[in-house]
């Protein structure tokens, strides 16, 4: 991705320091018109290759890593079509066609349960977790003192660097049955409450853990986008008598709309991935009915249960759905005139 961006810049001969997204929009608008840019694109590919050789060479190590660790392992997905036996070489496990996908199409209750839990979590997290950093970024942006802003920001994004094991342990130590709060209540003869291990509150618990851990971190991107907004727009707006609220609505939000759409699309691609590590650590108490999601289903079936083929099939479908969601959402973004993840 990095390399293709540089390529575009060189091809258009654009040396301005405009943000990448804007640059792409302007070149996109130009399609169809006989501009120098297009004539140059008709150059034979090898001459373009020679012209861009330095950039291409610089991109090579990254490409090699991507190929080796991202694309090559994709080939392992063939086990979704095999009765895979882990101690035989790939080719030697018997081929079973689409048998492994039967759990998906026949509605295996455990699979359906995992899918339902995943979708509920995704929905809740897109509605509650996704907007949280935007709101926080707007709030921080409205703080006048730069020093306080930085201090608050640092405190808020530190939890991102804690691993899930630690985060889950902290929540258990505070909210668990023998956690700080319950121990205090018990010592003073009050009724205790059950949060950890309560299957009714599990979605809420997971969501609040995610928010506590990652909201601060996610504001960084939005704050960067906010700082890109031309200050003269605010001046002009206030000259016209716009209130703070209207400034936010007409200047600030449109200014970061591009990045919001971009992140939302990327989030959709991950929508079937809802915190494997976080959930597996807390599955014992709440039970599978409330806590099994697609990722833990794949783990419990594949690694623990030895049903490698079925696990790979579910994982493959999950990946395919993710790709389709990204492409679909991107298409819609284009129709609405946004840039999306890439330009069409």
């Amino acid at each position: 991705m990095e390399s293709s961006v540089s390529h575009t810049d060189v091809a258009t001969g654009d040396t301005s320091s405009r943000p990448v997204g804007l640059d792409r929009t302007t070149t996109g608008m130009s399609s169809g018109a006989p501009r120098p840019f297009l004539r140059r694109r008709r150059n034979p590919w090898y001459s373009r290759l020679i012209r861009d050789r330095a950039l291409l060479v610089m991109a090579l190590p990254g490409m090699a890593l991507l190929l080796l660790f991202q694309y090559l392992p994709l080939l392992g997905n063939v086990i979704a079509f095999q009765a895979y036996v882990p101690f035989l070489p790939f080719g030697q496990s018997p081929w079973v066609g689409l048998d492994n996908f039967a759990v998906i199409f026949n509605g295996d209750p455990a699979f359906v349960n995992a899918l339902r839990n995943t979708l509920v979590l995704t929905l809740v997290q897109v509605i509650l977790v996704f907007p949280a950093p935007i709101a926080l970024a707007l709030l921080l942006n409205s703080l006048l003192s730069e020093r306080i802003k930085r201090a608050v920001q640092s405190v808020l994004y530190l939890p991102h660097f804690l691993s899930w094991v630690i985060v889950v342990a902290v929540f258990q130590q505070v909210l668990g049955g023998s956690g700080m709060i319950n121990n205090f209540l018990r010592t003073h003869g009050a009724d205790t409450f059950s949060i950890i291990g309560n299957s009714d509150l599990f979605v809420g618990l997971l969501t609040s853990q995610v928010m506590w851990k990652d909201t601060g971190w996610a504001t960084i991107l939005f704050l960067a986008a906010l700082s890109q907004i031309d200050a003269s727009l605010y001046e002009a707006a206030s000259m016209d008598g716009a209130s703070r609220w209207r400034q936010m609505w007409h200047v600030t939000l449109p200014g970061i709309r591009g990045i919001i759409v971009l992140l939302l699309i990327l989030r959709l691609g991950d929508s079937l991935t809802v915190g494997f590590e976080q959930i597996i650590l807390q599955q014992g108490g709440v039970g599978l009915a409330a806590s099994e999601v697609l990722d833990t289903y794949v783990y419990n079936n594949g690694i623990v249960g030895g049903q490698w083929g079925v696990a790979a099939a579910v994982g493959l479908v999950k990946g395919a759905v993710g790709v389709l969601l990204v492409l679909g959402a991107n298409k819609i973004a284009h129709l609405l005139g946004e840039n999306g993840v890439y330009k069409s």
Binding site: Q172, S178, R186, G285, I303, V304
Partner: protein, 544 residues
Amino acid sequence: MSLSRRTFLSAGIGAAALMASASCSSSTTPPATGGGVADAGVELPTYIRFEGVTADLPGTDDGIPDTFFSYPANPQAATDGPPADGSAIQGSVPVNKAVPPSMDRNSYWQALNERIGSELRLTITPGADYPQRFATAVAGDGLGDVFTIDMSFAQLPQFLAAQCQDLTEFLSGDAISDYPFLANLPTDSWRGTVYNGAIYGLPISRGVQSSGLLYTRDDLFEARGVDPQPATIDDFVQTCRDLTDTRANTWALTNVPMATLQQMYGLPNTWGVDDAGAFSHAIEADGYKAALELGRSLVADELVHPDFADATGADAKGWFGAGSSAIHQDTYSAMGSMYDVGSTAGEGYLVGLMLTPGEDGQPAPFWLGNPNNTISAIAKGDEARVRMLLEVLNFLAAPIGTAEHLFRKYGLEGVHYDFDGNNDPVLTELGETEASGGTFPIEYLIDGPRPNYYPGRPQVAQDIYDHMQQVIPTGVRNPTVGLYSATQGTVGGRLNTTLNDATNAILLGREPVSSWDDVVADWRSAGGDSIRSEYEEGYAAANG
């Protein structure tokens, strides 16, 4: 040793369920330890007892192990020269303490290499993660020359046949006399190494020490004036009430000891077999629902630590050691760690062993654990290499009272341990870390027969001996030990996950006890009945 979070329930539900830790905790390790029909043809290794050392209380034919009150005096070398040929040996093992320092920073390990005569390159994985590590290492061909087997691995016999060395010609019958310390391992343990009609592994022998029981913090019992030996089930519940003080944040039980509760109601040891050779699972018996009801009421009455459901075995032991709970279910072989967790509790710290009360007021029939913790296997290789590896394993199986054993467990005198006044080796700080506190994970490649010996605590060995004398002679075996069920091997893991989950749901009050009938019906149709008929077939073939 420790029953981990995933395993403690399964210890009650199904022997096979102890999958989460092949490494330890095998109070009832998977029944997948035998060849069933197939082993009829293979001659098991001849048992040749090592006579070099005399126990303070000799073991019995029932399986009570040799008991020692101090380390046997003047341990002599029982082998001559390093067993290996100098070429590096790769291996994979689990560990149930902190992972010891790596070879280059570990003087004990280096001394071990020197004595073996080769570099022993071990990949050491925490026990709770070993099944996952094993599964991925199998797929990636990364286990090495000799490795601990995860007994819950699906298609285990096929894996052994495809990747592991058939050891029959080296070990069967009198052939084992080439390896005297392997010949010193009990026949019951070798039975669990037979698959596909051949000997495919070496036993990590535990004898009866993998049987589970309830440990009691006798110092806490005494402080509260409670008798640690309840005579009836009602007494047991009352004992739990007497030990619970929620306002002080203490609860009687670390978790719901389902295996013990089942023994109270006289249920079969996971599987039972009648005179006609018909098998039935403990979960199918009415008594199982009685056990569930008892477990549910223990939780509902707040007699169990409130965080038990998400706790690891180490967490539960920690509560026991810290005194937030006073009763903990674990195996005999976990006794050492019961004292480890209480190392900061001070002088009076005292661990007792409860005799589980039965319905009739007599001690309940005691479930015998799997004779093996797990097995280890050797990768396929040429004869010279296999013999060399067997020599090394023979060396590592030297029993208590030999110089090899003393070094293997405790390292170098003056560096890793010192003898105390009672002639017991006491580990130094360096020995605690480098030699994993006397349990360096080579003990999961092979080990001698496990003695009943606790350095510096002769009374503990005596207490265990006394407890065993009361329960072992009338112990209940799991009839599937030594049989193999292919269905258990493939879908058993999934079935046990479901059973554990359903049990948890009932214990925590999410589902009523009456829902258990549906759980059992589902279990039967999802594979339980096939497992039953496979065991019945194997049992019939083995017992004529």
